[in-house]
């Protein structure tokens, strides 16, 4: 990064430490800011969780109260509900920041936009994916899932939701400039989320049956790692295009 002589003059005139914020500190500030904002808009925060709870509790009413039947459909119900809940929250990921000029300021901050948007995606996962992972066993118990399956469900939903948040961040960034982007966002995100749904449901099914669920869990982990590697770059590129 070059610094011109003219650039130095106003910096010297300013008071206090004028060193740039480190990339890690900038990401941490972005994360903290998003968490603080989310807790001031609690309605928006709990919306995906309420949706998840409603869907999973409606299934026993619609199918049958018979636990053996519910146990059979539990993996699918849990994962479809988790996927749709995650999708519900995605619309808010960048929308407000785009409207109020925050994304522009991020793009012009001198920090890596990729890194700042990754921090936002982590905040999104902490606010939606992690609570879903905590809620999933409770919903599972209402579907007749044995207590022994709880660890498997928590871990698989936690890892799978990382991948869902990262895939979703790309979709949210691509649809930034689109009014009422929900339908388009679903269309973009759902096909990419299918592997997560398949491996997540398989891991949950195996944990319910008391089997070894490490193989589908590792595949979920691989998807999450792939997401961490590629999604932030694609998200930043899509945001830049939309800022033009």
């Amino acid at each position: 990064m070059h610094r011109s002589a003219a650039a130095a003059a106003p910096r010297r005139a300013g008071a206090g430490a004028l060193a740039m914020t480190s990339a890690l500190a900038a990401a941490r500030l972005t994360l903290v800011r998003d968490l603080r904002l989310a807790f001031r808009k609690r309605g928006q925060l709990v919306q995906p969780l309420v949706f998840f709870a409603i869907v999973t509790t409606l299934f026993p009413l619609a199918i049958s109260p018979e636990l053996s039947r519910l146990r059979d459909v539990a993996p699918g119900v849990l994962w479809v509900a988790a996927l749709l809940s995650s999708l519900l929250a995605l619309e808010f990921l960048f929308r407000d920041d785009a409207h109020d000029g925050t994304l522009e300021q991020y793009a012009l901050s001198g920090q890596s936009l990729t890194w700042l948007l990754f921090a936002k995606t982590v905040a999104h996962w902490l606010l939606t994916g992690l609570p879903l992972a905590v809620m999933a066993p409770l919903a599972g118990l209402s579907l007749g899932v044995p207590a022994s399956a709880v660890p498997g469900i928590v871990v698989s939903v936690a890892v799978g939701s990382v991948a869902l948040s990262l895939i979703g961040s790309v979709g949210a960034a691509l649809t930034l400039g689109v009014k009422r982007s929900g339908a388009l966002l679903s269309l973009l995100t759902l096909p990419l989320s299918m592997p997560v749904l398949i491996f997540g449901a398989r891991a949950t099914e195996l944990s319910i049956k008391g089997g070894d669920f490490s193989a589908p869990l590792q595949l979920l982990g691989a998807l999450a790692v792939l997401g961490v590697t590629l999604a932030p770059l694609a998200t930043a590129a899509a945001v830049r295009i939309n800022l033009e």
Binding site: M1, A15, A17, M20, T21, L37, R40, G101, L108, S109
Partner: protein, 209 residues
């Protein structure tokens, strides 16, 4: 050339079939303010966004201290502050929190610096109220506090006096004067005259196609 810090060379920008910028040239040296004028739709905002790097000019280039900004965009961005039409503030945060997160991403800001900047723009008494309860003029003042806190040499301002009362407009003028006196540069899209000394002021008139 050696004294020239920001230059635009033959900038052409199209938006669909519309030729928005038609070979725009300008240069600003340290201690100077370039005032961009022109009627609505002549491309003032587009020029500012092109200079900032938010928009890509199909032809031409922007030079910062003699170097093409595209070759070190992060370095260029670390040297500039851009305030657009809307102050980049979060309605659910207070002015103080907004400054902490907005400016903090660029450089560490102490509580004293926040206090000084908020005092400078007359925001002491409402710095801990949520931004959603503030008037448009008060929000603009918070944005000006952020601008002063950034401590960067290049300011790109899009209608910086919008929604401000007479006192607020004078504040903008004095902030710009101080910045220029410290060796900074300002490029501002603004309709009416800036209270900046004539020797420091340059004008660029954009015409409709």
């Amino acid at each position: 050339m050696s004294d020239c810090c920001l230059q635009g060379e033959n900038l052409h920008l199209w938006r669909g079939a519309r030729h928005v910028l038609r070979g725009v040239h300008f240069s600003v040296t340290r201690g100077e303010c370039l005032q961009i004028t022109g009627s609505n739709g002549t491309g003032k905002t587009s020029l500012l966004r092109t200079v900032s790097g938010l928009m890509y000019a199909e032809e031409g280039r922007v030079l910062w201290d003699g170097r093409d900004v595209r070759k070190d965009l992060l370095g260029f961005h670390a040297d500039l502050a851009y305030i657009g039409h809307e102050p980049p503030l979060k309605a659910d945060l207070t002015p103080r929190e907004n400054l902490r997160y907005w400016i903090g991403v660029r450089r560490p800001v102490s509580r004293d610096e926040e206090d000084q900047a908020l005092h400078r723009v007359g925001a002491d008494s409402w710095s801990d109220r949520p931004v959603r309860t503030l008037s448009a003029g008060q929000k603009r003042r918070v944005a000006l506090a952020g601008l002063a806190l950034m401590a960067v040499p290049l300011w790109l301002l899009d209608e910086p006096t919008t929604n401000l009362d007479t006192e607020g407009q004078r504040l903008v003028g004095s902030l710009i004067e101080e910045h220029l006196a410290a060796g900074g540069l300002v490029v501002a899209a603004i309709h009416h005259d800036l209270s900046v000394s004539a020797t420091a002021l340059r004008r660029l008139e954009l015409a409709r196609e």
